[in-house]
C-alpha cells in the first residue's frame, strides 16, 4: 500500500494527511466550458441518444417506475421507436446487437 513506500523517520502527527492527485490533471483543465455548455451538451446528447437508441427507449421508460405519466409515456416511446425504424436510424443498433449475438455464440 501507499504508506509502505516511505520510511517514517519524522514524527507522524503534524504530517498533512492529504496527498491526493487530481484525477483530471491541470493541463487538461485549462481548456473547458461553462455550466451552460454542459447543459447544452447534456441536452444534445439525450437527443442523439433518443435518435440512435430508440430500440431500448420503451424498456428504459418502463424502468423509470410506475404511475400514470409513465403509462402514458410508454406508448409514445414505442411510437417514437417505430418512427426511427421507418427512417432507418435503428439499423446501427440492430447491426451491433446482431454482431454481439454472433460473437457470443462463437466457439473455439
Amino acid at each position: 500500500m501507499v504508506a509502505l513506500e516511505r520510511e517514517l523517520r519524522e514524527p507522524l502527527a503534524p504530517a498533512p494527511s492529504t496527498t491526493t492527485a487530481d484525477a483530471i490533471p491541470l493541463a487538461l483543465r485549462r481548456h473547458g466550458g461553462s455550466p451552460r455548455q454542459v447543459l447544452a451538451i447534456t441536452f444534445i446528447g439525450i437527443l442523439a441518444l433518443a435518435l440512435f437508441a430508440s430500440r431500448d427507449l420503451p424498456s428504459w421508460v418502463g424502468g423509470l417506475g410506475d404511475g400514470p405519466l409513465i403509462e402514458r409515456a410508454q406508448p409514445l416511446a414505442t411510437k417514437w421507436d417505430d418512427a426511427m425504424a421507418s427512417i432507418g436510424l435503428t439499423r446501427p443498433h440492430e447491426a451491433l446487437r446482431d454482431l454481439i449475438r454472433r460473437l457470443l455464440d462463437a466457439q473455439w
Partner: protein, 470 residues
C-alpha cells in the same frame, strides 16, 4: 438510481439546468446540489436519508466541539467519542448480524444451546463511504489539516455529494471542503469528463457485464462443474471485471463532479501493471488505500517501531481493510492475504527492494503480483470460504478437461481489459485534448451517438455496480 440509466440522465439534465441558471450564485448552487444528492440517495430508500443527515450532523458538531476544545486532551476525547459513534453506526448496520452469526457458530461449537437473535436490517447503500468521509473530516480537524467547517450546508454537501455518495472515491475533507469555500474560476473540463464517462460506460456495460454473465458468475457459482482451464480464465475474468466495474464507477463519478465544477482525486492507475504488491496498492482504489494509511496504519505506529511492529500494523490494516468491504470471513481472508503479502514483501526487501530490475525481471515481477492478486480475488468473489476452497481445489487438480464456459469472445474481453493496463498515460491526454477542440454541439452529438452504440453492444438491462454492496 444507477448512472447508466435514463432516470439518471434526466436527473442530471435537471441538475445541469439548475447549475446553468444559477451561474454565479454559488450558495444557491450548493443548496441545489444538497437537495439533488438527497433525492438521489432517497431513490434507494428514503429512510436512509435520515442516517446520512445524522452522520453529517455528528461530523459537523464534533468538528465544532474539537475546534472549541480548551485543550488537546479534551479535543482527543471528543474525537474518540465521535469516531466511536461513526463506527457504531457502521457496525450496527453492516456488522451486527455478522458478529451475531459468528458468536452463534462459536456457541454451537462449545455445545451451548442458546442463540443470539439477528436484527436483519437492510444495509444502507454507501454507508462505508460516508462514514469514512465523516471520520476523515473530524480527524483532519483534530490534526489541524483542515479548517473547521462553519457552514452546515458545506458539511451536508461534503457528506452527500451524489457523484461519490454510494461508491466513492473517498474524498477527503481537506481536499473537498476548500472547493466549497469559494467558486472555482477554472473552466469546466468538458472534453476529459466526457472521455471518462464514455470509457467508463464501455468498461462497465461491455467488458464487466459480459464477463460477469458469460463467465465469472456461472463458474464461481458452481466451481466443481468446471475444469481447471475455465476456473483459471474465470479468475482472470473476475480480476478484469472488478477493475472495469469499479474503475468505471470512479471514472464516471470524477467526470460528473468535474461537469458540476468540482475536482475529485484519482482512484485507479492501471493496477495490474504493478511490479510489487505495495505498488498495486498505490494504483488500486487509491482513495481507500491512502485513507487506511493515514487514519489506521500511521496511528497504529506505521513503520516507526521496528520490523515486527511494522508487519503487525500491515496485517491489521489490511485485515480491517478487508472487513470494510463486507461482513464476512472471506473478506477478512482477502485482507489477511494482502496484509501477509505486504509483510512478506517487506521482509524480502533487503534482497528484492532497492535494485533496479531487468526487463525480464520486471515482467516476472508483474506476473507474480498479478497472480497473487488474482488468487486473493478468489476469496473476495466466492460465495463463502467453502466455495473458495472448492474453487482452489479445482484449480489445483482439475486440468483433464477442456474449456466449457469461456468462449473466444470473453477471452478477447479479458485480453482487452488487461491490454488496457499497459496503454501509455499520454493516450488519454491526447484524446481528451482532441475532444476539447470539438464545439459543444458536436461533443454532445458525438457523446449521445457513442452512448447509443455502447448500449447496443451491451447486454439488455443494467447490472448494479459491484461496490454498491460495500
Amino acid at each position: 438510481m444507477l448512472f447508466p440509466t435514463l432516470g439518471f440522465l434526466l436527473f442530471f439534465l435537471i441538475v445541469a439546468a439548475a447549475m446553468a441558471v444559477l451561474d454565479t450564485r454559488f450558495a444557491a448552487k450548493k443548496a441545489v446540489l444538497v437537495v439533488a444528492s438527497y433525492y438521489f440517495y432517497a431513490q434507494w430508500d428514503w429512510r436512509f436519508c435520515f442516517l446520512l443527515a445524522g452522520s453529517s450532523a455528528l461530523s459537523y458538531l464534533a468538528g465544532q466541539l474539537i475546534d472549541k476544545a480548551p485543550d488537546r486532551g479534551r479535543a482527543r476525547t471528543i474525537l474518540g467519542i465521535a469516531v466511536a459513534l461513526h463506527l457504531g453506526l457502521l457496525g450496527a448496520f453492516k456488522y451486527f448480524d455478522f458478529f451475531i452469526s459468528s458468536a452463534n457458530q462459536l456457541a454451537r461449537l462449545l455445545g451451548l444451546e442458546h442463540e443470539l437473535p439477528f436484527i436483519e436490517i437492510l444495509l444502507p447503500v454507501g454507508i462505508s463511504f460516508f462514514t469514512f468521509h465523516g471520520i476523515s473530516y473530524i480527524t483532519d480537524v483534530y490534526r489541524g489539516d483542515v479548517a473547521v467547517c462553519r457552514n452546515p450546508l458545506d458539511m451536508l454537501l461534503y457528506m452527500s455529494f451524489f457523484p461519490q455518495l454510494v461508491a466513492g472515491p473517498i474524498v477527503r475533507a481537506a481536499y473537498f471542503l476548500p472547493q466549497l469555500a469559494r467558486p472555482s474560476t477554472e473552466p469546466i473540463p468538458i472534453g476529459p469528463a466526457l472521455l471518462l464517462i464514455l470509457s467508463g460506460l464501455f468498461k462497465k456495460v461491455v467488458i464487466a457485464n459480459y464477463l460477469a454473465t458469460g463467465l465469472v458468475d456461472p463458474v464461481f457459482s458452481a466451481p466443481t462443474s468446471y475444469g481447471g482451464p475455465d476456473l483459471l480464465l474465470a479468475t482472470y475474468g473476475y480480476a478484469v471485471q472488478i477493475f472495469c466495474d469499479f474503475s468505471a464507477y470512479s471514472d464516471m463519478a470524477i467526470a460528473l463532479a468535474a461537469l458540476l465544477g468540482f475536482r475529485f482525486p484519482a482512484n485507479f492507475n492501471q493496477p495490474y501493471r504493478a511490479q510489487r504488491l505495495r505498488e498495486f496498492w498505490q494504483r488500486w482504489h487509491i482513495s481507500l488505500s491512502t485513507w487506511l494509511r493515514d487514519y489506521l496504519y500511521k496511528p497504529l505506529g506505521g513503520n516507526r517501531d521496528g520490523r515486527l511492529r511494522t508487519y503487525r500494523n500491515l496485517l491489521l490494516t489490511m485485515l480491517l481493510g478487508g472487513l470494510w468491504h463486507g461482513a464476512a470471513w472471506k473478506f477478512i481472508a482477502w485482507g489477511a492475504l494482502h496484509g501477509g503479502g505486504l509483510a512478506v514483501e517487506r521482509m524480502l526487501e533487503p534482497w528484492i527492494g532497492r535494485r533496479a530490475l531487468s526487463p525480464v525481471a520486471k515482467i516476472i515481477a508483474t506476473l507474480v503480483v498479478f497472480h497473487f492478486v488474482c488468487f486473493a480475488w478468489i476469496f473476495f468473489r466466492a460465495e463463502d470460504f467453502a466455495m473458495a476452497s472448492l474453487y482452489i481445489g479445482g484449480l489445483a487438480t482439475g486440468w483433464s478437461g477442456g474449456l466449457q464456459q469461456a468462449g473466444p469472445f470473453v477471452v478477447a474481453l479479458i485480453a482487452l481489459g488487461l491490454a488496457g493496463q499497459f496503454t501509455p498515460d499520454a493516450l488519454f491526454d491526447r484524446v481528451a485534448l482532441a475532444f476539447a477542440r470539438v464545439p459543444s454541439w458536436g461533443l454532445g452529438a458525438m457523446a449521445g451517438i457513442v452512448v447509443a452504440l455502447i448500449n447496443a453492444l451491451g447486454p439488455e438491462g443494467v447490472a448494479p455496480f459491484i461496490y454498491f454492496r460495500f
